[in-house]
């Protein structure tokens, strides 16, 4: 059963299971992660198999969850904590940016913080307020954290393995609207390093960069563009911090045009950092400014408006056309 087709959520479940199984120091903590198996069933069955001292239903207090996870890490544990939804990470924000991110540096390297913070994020599931946000920028700006987001089942599985093995805190953003997307997972072959981007599709006319839930959209956009005779390269960034600028640069030096797509608001979003850095690196290669497609500078809207708010096929293709028009 080396390779198996499974849903992205199931891949994370399998990865957590493997980690719990192979390392007694690994813990899973969060609200409803135990008996219920999480509101998305990502931790389904884990408490049953590993007991409630390994898979822990916590009090309803996110700062407490991350704060105690820090203490457990100091004691030698490797906690994987779940934040139930993106919008609920902020009560824990202080512990994450002030303690979790800085403890290793503060101690001059004496203590390590192998804590994974799992956050189901992003929109597209028709949810109520606070259940559809994409706050990755707010973590990427903070030194000491690593920020990753898988786009498919195989990455979900392996990036979780690598995140748990990392001695640094990793904010692991799960693209919740892709939880049910199935993909091949080979549980024996590590696909590559955690923070390396992957060329999902080769192309020559323009590079589309995305991560997490937007990778699939970019693939669809590339399909659509291909029908119009445009060859788009699609890059799955996989990691937001660190960011694999080398891979973006290599692609842009070839295609000379770049469009970045993410759900998070454009203003101060990942696209800004990518545009700034790639423009600096590829100043003489770029035929067009780096264009950004993302959320607007507005709170995530009610569900009936989310299709207008979120980047969709047309908006991506519109940006592609604008970039190609330069």
């Amino acid at each position: 059963m080396a390779a198996e087709k499974m849903a992205l959520a199931k891949a994370i479940n399998e990865s957590l299971r493997r980690a719990l199984d192979s390392d007694p120091k690994v813990l899973v903590m969060g609200e409803d992660v135990g008996k219920l198996g999480g509101v998305f069933r990502v931790t389904d069955g884990l408490q049953k198999d590993f007991g409630d001292s390994r898979v822990i239903d916590t009090p309803l207090a996110e700062s407490g969850i991350v704060g105690t996870a820090i203490g457990l890490a100091l004691r030698g544990y490797r906690p994987v904590v779940e934040i139930q939804f993106d919008g609920f990470v902020f009560p824990a924000y202080d512990q994450i940016v002030t303690q979790l991110a800085k403890m290793h540096a503060r101690s001059l390297g004496k203590v390590k913080m192998p804590v994974v913070v799992r956050i189901p994020y992003g929109g597209g599931i028709g949810a109520v307020e606070h259940h559809s946000e994409s706050p990755e920028s707010l973590f990427a700006h903070v030194a000491g954290l690593k920020v990753v987001s898988p786009s498919n089942a195989s990455d979900a599985y392996w990036m979780m393995q690598q995140a748990i093995q990392s001695d640094d805190p990793v904010i692991y953003f799960e693209p919740k609207r892709r939880y049910w997307d199935k993909g091949e997972v080979n549980t024996e072959a590590i696909p590559g390093p955690l923070h390396k981007a992957r060329v999902v599709r080769e192309g020559t006319d323009l590079t589309l960069v995305a991560y997490g839930p937007m990778v699939k959209l970019c693939q669809e956009a590339a399909d659509a563009a291909a029908e119009e005779g445009k060859s788009l390269e699609v890059l799955d960034l996989r990691s937001v911090s660190p960011m694999d600028f080398d891979s973006i640069q290599a692609s842009v030096e070839k295609t000379r045009r770049l469009v970045v797509v993410h759900e998070a608001p454009v203003f101060f979003g990942s696209g800004a950092e990518i545009a700034a850095r790639i423009t600096e690196r590829c100043f003489y290669h770029l035929e067009a400014p780096v264009l950004r497609v993302g959320g607007y500078h507005a709170p995530y809207p009610p569900a009936r408006l989310e299709d207008e708010y979120l980047p969709g096929l047309d908006r991506v293709l519109d940006a592609v056309d604008r970039a190609l028009a330069y």
Partner: protein, 411 residues
Amino acid sequence: MTVDSSAASEPRRSAAGKAGTTGSKTGTKRTTRTTSRSTTRAATGSGTRTSTDPELVQLLTPEGKRVKNAEYDAYVAGITPEELRGLYRDMVLTRRFDAEATALQRQGELGLWASLLGQEAAQIGSGRATREDDYVFPTYREHGVAWCRGVDPTNLLGMFRGVNHGGWDPNSNNFHLYTIVIGSQTLHATGYAMGVAKDGADSAVIAYFGDGASSQGDVAESFTFSAVYNAPVVFFCQNNQWAISEPTEKQTRVPLYQRAQGFGFPGVRVDGNDVLACLAVTRWALERARSGEGPTLVEAFTYRMGAHTTSDDPTRYRGDEERLAWEAKDPILRLRRYLEASNHTDDGFFAELEAESEALGKRVREAVRAMPDPDKFAIFENVYADGHALVDEERAQFAAYQASFADVEGV
């Protein structure tokens, strides 16, 4: 026959007026009593909850028998049969509204619904204790309190349908928007109450939250601020035994009402399925607030009969027996038994209420189905009160982008 909640507001005002005239200083003694037993529990050092529940304030037994309570009887002493029928009607209509919303979710008209089934007494009893000038800060499940405040129930459905994040003007009924992030509103309530005190008004504020929410740091901070500033706020915790899949033992190892004492104000546990007791205790607590005695914690001991929300499947984490045991304590049945035994009602009352109930269901159904999707440009509205250049720019880009489709369609 009206089926909007404002029809029910009369008993509220008159009842509250009466409560205001009764004594308000009895709380001191009670707290002492209820917390002294807690001490014993607290000191055992055990992390497990004992199965015996601590004493709670009850005025109506599950069988509908009125029991005496030396301390709280005064707060419902003058209650009339009509007011009692009003409470009954509130609970029945609220439950009906709730059931309708659950059905509408199943039919795809709502994206989600958080049912209050089982918590009608806690909500109607406390809601009816409020005065018009009081201010209410709900969580996301206080449909019964909203009803008492005169918020049109169809307004509550917008956010669950996904057309807005809150469809009513908080200041029209002094009923704040639903707050989804657990516990946050307790601080808003405290701040609001600090403002009430600054204004020299004798209004009170009531903040609702759940047993799960009690663990949030914000709730503790609201206890600290309200105690230090002696703010006129009542913290009304509906302990419905569950925070999604987590039983209350995952939040505390002693009864929640005891939390207040360490912050310097009284806490009391009331039978949350006894609407009369909830009315009395909340009146007492609001009266304390009004008369400058500061905050109070009321823990309404009740039960979430249904799923956490329509997305939840409670069979994964709790058994039927528990539910059955609580069904025997049903808040509506209990009051009905009392009303019938007291000859306060006749068949006509129930028949009329049934019809009213049906009409409410119909109105809600129709209103939801007629609820239009918001205008696309609503995304950009109200992000700021005074405007923001980037929002203007993005709105304009969005308009141009939308227009480009119109062009295409126009071709």
